[in-house]
Symmetry: C2
Subunit: 722 residues, 2 copies
């Protein structure tokens, strides 16, 4: 799958780029000039303020933007009380961003004019490019070319613009640009969908989540999502970064941005769509991009600390959790509630999300036993019961004791709809406990607004995350724990491998050549010998029977499909028979194919059949797949992925991710398998394919994993070179 | 797993029960006397209106309940201005419900007094029973006994009470009982959790979902959740029934209630918790009930049209969808939006939930092509683009054309945050289209409240479901389609089997006897013979080699664990050797075990190894499990369940539910397997175990499924009788 007409951008940040774009007569344009421009031109401004060219004039003029606003349209003298310029060349004042809303055919000219006027960023609102087909794609290529030539960076086309709520910058069109009361905050959003992406701001705002920057990138002819993420990592006003993506052309850059965000302590939440076949088709017609393999995206997210979310609720809830400002030290959660049901719901979901239930310490148990009535529960999940209505002090001591327990990394407080004074006392206890212990506390609490105002105000002031349901608290706890774990994860540390000797030529390497290449990185084949094609009589083979006999042919990549493999051959005579059988099969099915010889290989009888595959993903480049051989992979799709290269720790995690992972341990009376050797082999393959760009595909299938201490054996291999 | 101290209730409805309880001097108590009582006594009423015994006095007195309110407590003359009675015997007026809030030790006496006073329903708010341990369980048994003796039905103990928002009946304690402004509506709730269950009312009310009846059942010493559901099916004010459960003792009754709700057209939404091991342990300490196997619950839900939900969002969103009042004819969905991203999100989730994307008809395509700009999409998901801001009429024609398309069963309209006049015109078009076509339309729409008031009012008036995200619209569409499909599903139709001859005695049947029983319901074994234990010399066996040789011993249920099975025996001599090997293994491992003989059976070489298992679930009785044999089941847990009995259509569905289902079709060059014979065998087993209550466990493993037309073969079987 290839992007249609898009090429990857060089891996540099906007910051580097704007430094590079320091042109004669221009000024140094720092990032703040995109997110915090001194002036904005609206090219193709409309006097009808409800139209696409009119909406940003109105919004920039009326909603409190402090910078200059320059409507540009030769038809008008003034729009909405602002002077209207005949062309961008006439603008005298500082102008860092041009919004362009002209017909697609006039877009190139408009971009050239903006570049000539020294405007460093052009946001192309117009549609009618790549998303309409080949002619539009050609026009988009011209547009990109024009922008590059004149030195203006291009956002869009086919986008809805840029919003910065802390500077009241409403530079775009659509419903949110008509909405002056959007909540400002510390969350920033980059979205490949304009209309839908921006509508997220309304939903989140209604839930108290405020935004800083929101940028719609549309077709990404020039500026791409990873690049915007990089800029947002540098943006001091942004604490959390959200990205809605349908596809990225440069997946490696997205991963790099993810790792940088992780290092900067800014959670990067990615909402990926276009994941079903039908959804992917729709995404293609939407922005003209092909979406890559969803499983690879997910693997890439995990590898680079990116947090995947699946809906607006996730986005709002995860932001709320991270805005709490405290990360847990580990995965151990506890909950205390006034209703047993809530604790059970929290626990079910927490376990499902990979968290562990904290085992409370003896001191805590003692404190709880003293405080909680006999019909409650002092075990985690702790239930103080509805007795809290008769004794409001009951909860406060319990919360403090639990959060102070060194076994507890985060605490869920499940208050059902507790109102009034009891809620207020609990809120105070929570604030006190956080101040004392600096661990996350999150609430499930759905009280009547007016009977809980004081308590809510106190909790909001302390940025304590509140959710309606215990299930959502568990999700939020998992996001926090996942981010904390990613931050403290050891580096990937790919192993060092010797430089290999690559065969010349391209296309598929035969089994023998493929195995020779693998042997160079320490992955052994079975004991085997290669018989020449003209073998007539067989003398003793220095091999242990049973053996496998396999065709070697430069013309046949998948030899078992043409009857080119005979397994379980028990004798020397059998080898001769097998060779004749293979010859006969080939004559019948592929008479054109050359016979280069036959491999005779000892059969591995004490190993588990696995496979290592490598593909070049259009977004992420070389990707390693690992799974069990046979029906496990073919029928059950029990396969896991990583973007190459990576270390043995990641490879071990891959083994553990298989649904059939238990097969690698002691099983049905046999000992554990050599997972260390397996992980090492997977990691080495990942380094090899990352180093050797000529390797397009690789398939080690089967790779036998033998008992611990006995390593792995590549029983077959196919490598395809470019 | 057994319920601790709970026995199953007889399968009768509350209606039947109250008819049966027509006592001398009493009146006929219909259902309305529980949900709509004429008078309520509060036994253990407190003059402190913030305490458990005081809250219901205050709420019933002040929140608009039209019936009589009788505080009962010898300590007071009056509470909150109401006459207070010394005992329930003193109440002169009609009284259908007694709320009891006395210490646990006084509970039996209070219940006896209520029964003696002719009060048909006692709601025991007090805790301190089964949830506290053995002494509490004994007290609870006495309580149940007392209620039965005096003829009052008991709700609770350890519950929070009963709410009927249409009659302003606030008969309980906790935060919702202090909240007079809860929204009344047509959704009813029965919950095993009081505090948490009732807090759902606050959350849903804030989202515009109103409730009718909400009842907390606590420990369910007498009245159980299925029984309450039955009553709610009869309740004319209830259109949707929600149940929060941790466990039910009588799962069959829950299923029966599900089927009745389905027939009545009332969706039954069940939220099951206590599903992780930790959650189940917490549920046990919460109400003293053990939770059964979650997989069995889920199977039971599917079999009886029960809709499983997983969070408050699901509950509110599903209610909203069903309150729309229109069901789709099938699973084909279409979407139209003003932003491509929203359509992709909808599509991804709809596909993931088993819906199909409608292929629009040619007339629709023509209409869409004429209306939608080139940079939009006329394929489903349809994208009219942000052009709708320049042309508000664009959407209206498209909506009508799409809903009118006979290929479309439901339509999602994805409006992002479309405000103002465009929204209003769209709302009108939606109302018109629904009136014309009577198909569900649902919206994803998150506009600024004040810029969309008129449109929202119009849609609310028409009960058009509105969600914030396209993902939630897809979930809602799936609930509607699932309920519609369940309503039109063919009946289970279990096959008729001949009456079988059951062996006498109990405990495990040996392989030969187990197979004989299976043969009676038409499940054949391999060709085999039984050799007596004293076999010394072997003459020709009339069997085809290879054969399996297996120990027959009344003392050994799992013979392969003691070396009692030798497979792949190739000759008559080999049989003798195998017998000697088995004897030696037994002597070493189980010298005490009797040898009853040896089975020699032809090996099946052309079949796929599967298994049929039967267990008696503590909640659901006989349950049939089906899965693949070997590591598929052991490692991958690729097993599916059904509550017995059921028909071959359900059994076929079980085969299709396996992750490895593809193995039953044509695979790697071999033809499809005999799924018909397999489904028939599974269904017959389900009928057998439902009929024969002495069968406690059954394990047909392996059951070989041979190529189509060749049937199935039970290669081993173990049946355990009571």
């Amino acid at each position: 799958m290839q992007g249609l007409g898009l090429q990857n951008e060089p891996a540099c940040s906007i910051q580097q780029m704007v430094h590079a774009k320091r042109r004669p007569g221009g000024c140094l344009h720092a990032l703040s000039h995109l997110f915090e421009p001194r002036g904005v031109a609206i090219v193709g401004a409309s006097a009808d303020l409800t139209r696409i060219g009119g909406q940003p004039v109105r919004a920039l003029n009326r909603f409190g933007f402090r910078g200059a606003v320059y409507p540009v349209n030769p038809k008008y003298q003034a729009i909405d009380g602002l002077r209207c310029y005949a062309s961008v060349a006439d603008i005298g004042g500082p102008c860092d961003v041009a919004l362009i809303a002209v017909p697609a055919q006039a877009a190139c000219e408009a971009v050239r004019a903006c570049g000539a006027a020294g405007i460093p960023f052009s946001i192309m609102l117009s549609a009618g490019f790549r998303e309409t087909g080949a002619a539009g794609a050609a026009l988009e290529a011209q547009l990109r070319q024009a922008a590059a030539e004149v030195g203006t960076r291009l956002i869009g086309p086919n986008c809805q613009g840029l919003l910065n709520l802390t500077t009241r910058l409403y530079a775009g069109f659509g419903s949110v640009f008509q909405e002056p009361e959007l909540l400002a905050g510390a969350v920033s959003l980059v979205s490949q969908s304009g209309g839908f992406g921006f509508s997220v701001l309304m939903s989140c705002g209604a839930r108290g989540i405020g935004f800083r920057v929101a940028l719609s990138t549309g077709n990404e002819a020039d500026v791409t999502t990873p690049e915007v993420i990089e800029a947002l990592i540098e943006d001091p006003g942004t604490r959390i970064i959200c990205a809605y993506i349908e596809s990225v052309d440069d997946g490696r850059r997205l991963q790099a941005a993810g790792r940088r965000a992780l290092a900067a302590g800014k959670p990067l939440l990615v909402w990926k769509s276009g994941n079903s076949a039908d959804g992917a088709r729709a995404a293609t017609s939407h922005t003209g991009s092909m979406t890559g393999c969803y499983d690879v995206y997910r693997a890439a997210f995990r590898q680079s600390g990116i947090i995947e979310i699946f809906d607006i609720d996730d986005l709002a809830d995860a932001c709320r959790a991270f805005l709490g400002g405290v990360l847990p030290a580990g995965p151990r959660v506890a909950s205390v509630g006034i209703s047993g049901g809530a604790g059970i719901l929290f626990t079910d979901r927490a376990i499902a999300r990979g968290l562990t239930l904290a085992k409370l310490g003896e001191d805590t148990n003692k404190a709880l036993r003293a405080a909680i009535p006999s019909f409650g529960s002092i075990a985690n999940p702790v239930d103080v019961t509805a007795s809290v209505f008769n004794d409001a002090a009951l909860l406060t001591g319990v919360i403090n004791a639990m959060l102070g327990d060194s076994e507890v990394d985060q605490l869920a407080v499940l208050l059902a709809s507790l109102p009034g004074d009891a809620a207020l006392r609990t809120a105070r206890a929570i604030r006190d406990a956080i101040a004392r212990h600096n661990k996350p506390i999150m609430l499930a609490w759905a009280p009547s607004r007016k009977r809980a105002e004081a308590a809510r105000a106190l909790l909001d002031e302390g940025h304590v995350p509140i959710y309606e349901s215990p299930v959502r608290v568990a999700e939020a706890a998992a996001w926090l724990a996942g981010f904390a774990a990613a931050r403290s994860a050891p580096p990937a540390a790919p192993p060092t491998i010797a430089r290999v000797t690559m065969p010349a030529g391209d296309g598929p390497l035969d089994e023998a050549k493929s195995k020779t290449l693998l042997a160079q990185i320490g992955i052994p084949a079975a004991r085997e010998c290669v018989l020449p094609a003209d073998t007539k009589t067989l003398t003793a083979l220095n091999l242990k029977f049973p053996v496998a006999v396999k065709l070697l042919s430069r013309d046949i990549a998948h030899k078992s499909e043409v009857g080119g493999v005979v397994l379980g051959v028990a004798s020397l005579d059998g080898v001769g028979t097998a060779i004749r059988t293979i010859r006969a099969n080939l004559t019948r099915q592929r008479p054109d194919a050359a016979i280069d010889g036959f491999i005779v290989a000892e059969m591995i009888t004490d190993g588990l059949e696995t496979l290592i595959g490598v593909v070049r993903d259009p977004s992420f480049g070389p990707v390693v797949a690992f799974g069990l051989g046979g029906v496990m992979t073919e029928v059950l799709k029990d396969v896991t992925y990583r973007v190459a290269p990576f270390g043995a720790n990641q490879a071990r995690a891959m083994v553990g991710e298989l649904r059939a992972a238990a097969l690698f341990g002691t099983f049905r009376g046999r000992g554990a398998l050599d997972v260390e050797a397996l992980a090492d082999a997977i990691a080495r393959v990942s380094v090899l394919v990352a180093q050797e760009e000529r390797i397009m595909e690789m398939d080690i299938n089967p790779l036998f994993v033998r008992p611990r201490g006995h390593g792995v054996v590549a029983a077959d291999a196919l490598i395809v070179l470019r």
